[in-house]
């Protein structure tokens, strides 16, 4: 089984670490590089600063957990989405922008691939885990509306990533697809 994490920033890297027990090949796709500020909210360590996130996470899985993974340090585009995601048994969207989420969603629907999305609100008060059949990206009220960039709201990110990882685990083991809404006092599925 092959699980492809699209985006391994705050949500994706944390959720992936919580999926390290699965009997599956974990694949990381992210074009971005690790910055010092990422260490506060993402599953990276100081020696990873400057490295590509997907490659850095792959190294950490091998060195810290003894788990082999795959990494692709590229941005997902219309030209490469089939090559990157075509072999997936499950796609996990942890990206940070609407266009990329829509691109992945379009591909998953065309290819008949299961896809689950994880997202947090910009003010850090709640997050969503949504299967693609229930996924409609919200329009922004104002252009450039705040996101969680910079790693604020770590406890909520942890809770959301854990809920997403549990959703992935339940799907892989039982085929169940549960949507959740998460805040610091409640997880509702």
């Amino acid at each position: 089984m092959r699980i492809v994490f699209c985006g391994v920033g705050a949500i994706g890297s944390t959720a992936a670490v919580l999926c390290r027990n699965l009997e599956a090949t974990l694949v990381f796709v992210d074009f971005d590089r690790v910055e010092s500020k990422n260490l506060l909210a993402q599953a990276y360590v100081k020696p990873s600063v400057g490295k590509n996130k997907a490659e850095a996470l792959k190294l950490q899985f091998l060195n810290l957990h003894g788990v082999k993974t795959e990494a692709h340090g590229v941005r997902i585009t219309r030209d490469n989405v089939e090559a990157l995601c075509g072999g997936a048994d499950l796609l996990v969207d942890c990206m940070d922008n609407r266009d990329s989420r829509l691109l992945l969603s379009d591909f998953a629907r065309r290819a008949g691939k299961p896809l689950v999305h994880g997202a947090v609100s910009g003010d850090g008060t709640f997050g969503l885990v949504r299967w693609d059949e229930h996924f409609v990206p919200d329009a922004e009220d104002t252009p450039g509306q705040a996101t969680c960039e910079g790693g604020a709201h770590l406890p909520l990110l942890g809770l959301l990533a854990a809920t997403l990882a549990r959703t992935v685990q339940d799907f892989m083991k039982h085929g169940t697809r549960r949507d959740s809404i998460v805040n610091l006092s409640t997880v509702m599925s």
Partner: protein, 82 residues
Amino acid sequence: MATLNITYDGMSADVPVEFDGHVADADIRRIATELVRSGGVPGLHLSQLHHEAFAHFVVDRFRGARGEERIYLRPKVPFGAR
């Protein structure tokens, strides 16, 4: 009987509601405002809630495993600006 979940200002609560047929999103927002103001939502009583507090909120509708209706009223989740 449907369950309406309201997420507001970091809080989230369920309240059972009885609807006759389909209720429009705008009406869900109005009903939620009244429920929160009146104290009808356990743990979410804000008597001074502004009447437009939910104006830009999203209404999600799902069917549970046993066919029950669940309605979520929540803020938008910005997916980035690129």
